[in-house]
């Protein structure tokens, strides 16, 4: 992992640590955003490195949230057990959905995940005895930290301890980012980049492209499931609205806006689009059009995304100014 990534991580950690002071009363809004960032990091691995697109990430988000909440509420299991359990379940489901479509060449995954997302939505709305239908269910028991047998030291609940939940969610997002960065700079990451740059060439060189693509897709599903579980245990209520296809769409927009050539783009895109939707919530009716236009404009004119686009722009500007200065000096001499 290069030096710039390490500096970036340090800055990111500092931002997370100081955020509660800087954000004050708006801290609450940044908790679900942490979950979204985690999902976006997973999706950006899939889009930027495996060159595939998933339009059903919210379905894995839902699997993570509902499985964990139901297991802890109905069976009385600790969230520390149900969260990994639901991640395993999400991974299994992702394997089932992704394996057939990723073994094929091309982009069948987009439609397979879209279909899977719809199926999950239909089940959430329809299986009322289990999921409560459109009125939803209560969230899972909050995560706690402490010695067994005594009072917990910290209870991660948004109603009582907002700051702890914020740190929890964003720490997991941070760890997700570190893992993603490590992955990219490993053997697997190099193979993935080879797939993205030229699948035929990668195959010829002996890279098992299908297997890597499936692994990345499963990883992105695990990220989404973790995000869902964290959401389910931090908030007291779950409704299907939170897990609709709108969320999958928003994620794609976030990743494209931030830029899919780097995982950092996912974080930037999430913060940018997340804050925009929050601040401009009064123009809710226009969002779909705005998303459409943003996707089209970014894909056509800034395909590297806002983050790398800003870097390119500043370098271009710098070179222009420096060159002007140099040519000026030449004239003087």
């Amino acid at each position: 992992m290069g030096r710039s990534n390490l500096i970036g991580l340090c800055l990111f950690a500092l931002c997370i640590a100081l955020a509660p002071v800087a954000l004050g009363n708006t801290l609450y809004q940044f908790i679900p955003l942490g979950a979204l960032a985690l999902m976006a990091i997973g999706l950006s691995l899939l889009m930027g490195y495996a060159g595939q697109i998933s339009l059903g990430q919210s379905a894995f988000y839902a699997v993570g949230a509902y499985t964990s909440a139901l297991c802890s509420a109905k069976l009385g299991w600790s969230p520390w057990v149900t969260i990994p359990l639901s991640a395993v379940l999400a991974a299994g489901v992702a394997l089932l959905v992704g394996m057939p479509s990723l073994r094929l060449r091309g982009h069948y995954l987009a439609m397979a995940t879209l279909a899977f997302g719809e199926i999950v939505r239909i089940v959430l709305d329809g299986w009322i005895t289990l999921t409560g239908g459109s009125s939803g269910i209560r969230g899972g028991a909050p995560l706690t930290v402490g010695w067994p047998g005594s009072q917990p030291l910290v209870v991660f609940n948004t109603l009582t301890n907002e700051r702890a939940v914020f740190y929890l969610v964003w720490t997991v997002a941070f760890l997700g980012l570190v893992l993603a960065l490590n992955l990219i700079h490993s053997r697997v990451g190099r193979a993935l980049r080879a797939i993205h740059d030229g699948e035929e060439a990668a195959v010829v060189l002996g890279v098992p492209t299908a297997r890597y693509k499936i692994q990345i897709f499963v990883l992105s599903a695990v990220y989404a499931s973790l995000a869902g579980s964290l959401y389910a245990h931090s908030f007291s209520y779950l409704t299907p609205d939170e897990f609709g296809s709108a969320k999958s769409i928003l994620l794609v927009v976030m990743v494209v806006v931030g830029g899919m050539r780097t995982v950092w783009g996912a974080v930037v895109g999430t913060l940018l689009m997340g804050s925009l939707t929050e601040w401009l919530s009064w123009m809710e009716n226009y969002w779909l059009v705005v998303y459409g236009v943003v996707l089209l404009v970014i894909t056509m004119f800034v395909p590297q995304g806002i983050l790398l686009g800003a870097g390119d722009f500043s370098r271009w500007l710098y070179r222009k100014i420096v060159r002007k200065k140099q040519s000026g000096e030449i004239k003087v001499s």
Binding site: A115, I122, T299
Partner: protein, 298 residues
Amino acid sequence: MPDMLERVLQLLVSGLAVGSIYAMVAIGYNIIYNATGIINLAQGEFVMLGGMLTVWGATRWGLPVPVAILTAVCLVTLIGVTLERLTIRPLRNPTVLTLLILTIGGSFLLKGAAMLIWGKNVYYMPAFLGTEPIRFARVAIERQEVFVWVSLAVVTVALTLFFNHTLTGKAMRACSYNRVAARLVGINSRLMVMLAFGLSAGIGALAGAVVVPITNMEYSSGSMFGLKGFSAAVLGGLGNNTAAVVAGIALALIESLVAGFVDSTYKDAVALSVLLIVLFVRPSGLFGNAALNRLKEF
């Protein structure tokens, strides 16, 4: 027992109309897939726009129904061509992922615009030829359903004639076999892509227009039509129009039987599960040829 038979027949008859719609949507996917090698994720929005514009034309502008349908089809064709011209055409050497994201963007744009224009209301309109059903040996057939079957028949026949007996149609087919070779013999492949978008938008709009009296329409109806149509296209084998017709109708018949005998809550999940199962078991589709498919890019 005769009651049972009657019920099955009745369900099959109503499934046939919905199946014709799926088939038309699937044909739309196929045409663009053949021309460009991508899946147009805005295909469902063409259906929604066709339906909405027909209702709007017939009720708001007071146009006669045939004129309203024609206007809707022409407008949506124009939208399809514009979408291709403004987003797909200007790109140099785009990757398939980029094209896919562009069609997603187009789909949000159309859906969002529809919501701004028509709001979140559900629109419906009376059947074109009256509501008195045709009785056929104790099975009732709605007139609108007959209208839908005829539309599919007309589209299929017209497309067959177009692709086999006109120079432009043959050129489009040549592009779908091999784009580079087609360009080498002087076919304007960019024009063919534009034509494909127009054609598939028009067919989608026609499907939307004739289905409104049966299922109603709102701004968000498009994605479900799109998904069902795609399921039909994959079930038949992507790119094959005849297979798409068979698959679309088969899919709707299964759906109709499940809704009638099992549980209508999960009706919509049936086609989508079929899609996932087909991808799992036989990704080249029921009538597809795996070896042939491998030569294409998608």
